[in-house]
């Protein structure tokens, strides 16, 4: 493997994208994604990265450019956050329907208002149903690794779908930490050249982005859904092969101390690391507590999730987005419906916290655990708690 260096995670991400030999980067700067895009533009300007950097006039244009470049067979990357994603939204839904393997890093940030630049998951939850493969990362090393993973999975001819790597804004994007780089040889071994399934080529004309009459629309959507579901074996295989090359083993659902746990925390993204400290502390106190982290958010890993919660009596779901007037946070809502009707269904308690970058410490998780333990009776879907709110 390559060298171990101390570097800001965003800069390392940009250098991973360079090592992945990207052809086209189209992006518009927005906090906290900025450092990734700035560094890519620097690498292109300095001649270190032979790619087209297209400084578009908006995120809507960024994703439109990405669709065009991916359609002609160029390895394509973009990056955004929050309001940028909102402006991009229209085209975000089109990319997977065209089966274009674009890679996006989403530096997760809350949606305004009030105007906020800080981290939570309201941006990604706003496009939950966009049809992209979606994964979450927990630290700088995972971001670096998942850049390679993202291109490999998205461009896999059996998959050919766009992929979002979720990276917590600031909490991960603006931190310097040690990262083990891959050497170029390992990248080449892991990531084959992009061989698109269909290419937009005037000499061999095809139609992309056609009009879909009601008579064909449902069939098109079912096949799109099937494509996303069918991507899972390729995703798992890409992680397994990475494990062989790097010694770092990623899975759709990851657990810590969950085997004999009665209560588990459930998180996505960088909160998992801090939760692990709370789990250690609660274990020291003799409490049967563990944790589950969802790495693969779409396609949802049903089988792996059910297996992970086998024997668990209570799940404390930490949500970082709100479904206003709905069933708590979006993660809790999904987990409740997927466990509905299962034998010995665990009790689910739902905490909304870490909104717009509010710090959540190990002590806070311990407090959530204690609050959960004290909750009596049926915990209904509408019983969710804004943790730490001042009233």
């Amino acid at each position: 493997m390559g060298k171990r260096i101390g570097i800001e995670n965003s800069l390392a991400a940009a250098e991973a994208i360079m090592m992945a030999n990207v052809d086209v980067v189209a992006a518009y700067p927005i906090t906290p994604q900025t450092h990734i895009v700035e560094h890519l533009s620097e690498l292109v300007a300095d001649g270190e990265l032979d790619a087209e950097f297209i400084p578009v006039e908006s995120e809507h244009a960024a994703m439109s450019v990405c669709c065009g470049s991916s359609a002609v067979g160029a390895r394509t990357f973009t990056c955004t956050s929050s309001q940028g994603l909102a402006l991009m939204n229209e085209i975000v839904f089109i990319a997977p329907s065209l089966r274009l393997p674009i890679v996006m890093i989403l530096a997760n940030r809350s949606m305004s208002g009030p105007l906020s630049i800080w981290n939570d998951h309201t941006d990604v939850m706003s496009i939950r149903d966009c049809g992209w493969i979606q994964v979450f990362t927990e630290n700088g090393q995972e971001i670096f690794d998942h850049v390679m993973f993202a291109f490999r999975v998205a461009e896999d001819p059996k998959i050919s779908l766009p992929l979002i790597v979720n990276v917590d804004g600031f909490t991960l994007t603006h931190v310097i930490e040690p990262i083990e780089y891959w050497d170029q040889e390992t990248v080449t071994k892991y990531l084959p050249d992009f061989k698109p399934v269909n290419v937009l080529d005037p000499d061999h004309p095809v139609t992309m982005g056609a009009f879909g009459m009601p008579s064909i629309f449902t069939e098109a959507k079912k096949s799109q859904d099937q494509a996303l579901i069918n991507s899972k074996p390729g995703i798992v295989q890409a992680w397994e092969e990475m494990g062989k090359l790097t010694g770092r083993h990623y899975r759709p659902v990851e657990t810590n101390c969950a085997e004999d746990a009665e209560t588990v925390f459930l998180t996505m993204g960088s909160f998992g690391e801090t939760v692990s400290i709370a789990v250690d502390e609660l274990r020291k106190q003799g409490k049967p507590v563990g944790q589950i982290k969802i790495r693969l958010w779409r396609p949802f890993p049903f089988e792996e999730f059910r297996q992970a919660v086998q024997g668990v009596k209570k799940i404390i779901i930490v949500d970082r987005a709100i479904s206003y007037g709905g069933p708590g946070g979006p993660v809790a809502g999904e987990i409740r419906s997927l466990l509905y009707g299962e034998d010995n269904m665990p009790v689910i308690t739902n905490f909304l916290c870490g909104l717009a970058g509010r710090d959540v410490t190990p002590e806070d998780y311990i407090a959530m655990y204690e609050k959960s333990e004290a909750m009596k009776g049926i915990v209904r879907e509408e019983d969710y708690i804004f943790y730490g709110v001042r009233e």
Partner: protein, 182 residues
Amino acid sequence: MIEVRFHGRGGQGAVTSAELLASAAINEGKYAQAFPSFGPERRGAPVIAFCRIDDKPIRIRTNIYHPDLVLVLDPSILRIVNVSNGLKEDGILITNTRYSGEEIRKELGIKHTLATVNATLIATEEMGLPITNTTMLGSLLKARNILPADSLIGPLNKRFGRIAQKNINAFQRAYKETDILI
């Protein structure tokens, strides 16, 4: 694990200071994190930055509430920010000041060990600028030897290129001229 909180004013390089310290620790084979207090960057306003150093992987991703060391780049901050807030009992407050440790202790009523250095003077003489972020790192390593002093030379060279030597001189002078008051 050693946790350090940096106080400065926007534009004085507190974040750079935290980054250099983390880079030096990582080059030494340790684990480290450096990060700003996330928010809008405002030149001149009080800002904070953080650094954690450990021999094993660091899992926590929160702000630092109980630092082992507090580093103050700008003496004007001492009067407007409670810089010793949360500082561990055996922690050290390291500050740029032209006053002595006794005078600072009396003026601010701080019970912790104090490390003082006139970093503004050193930086002005060595670099021609009163920017104290690299100077104060010398003082930090004198106050507690969390890393070998020469571990900063590599990161300083990498960061500052042709003006690195001036920063290294200021860093080394602060290391020598720091007074410790237990």
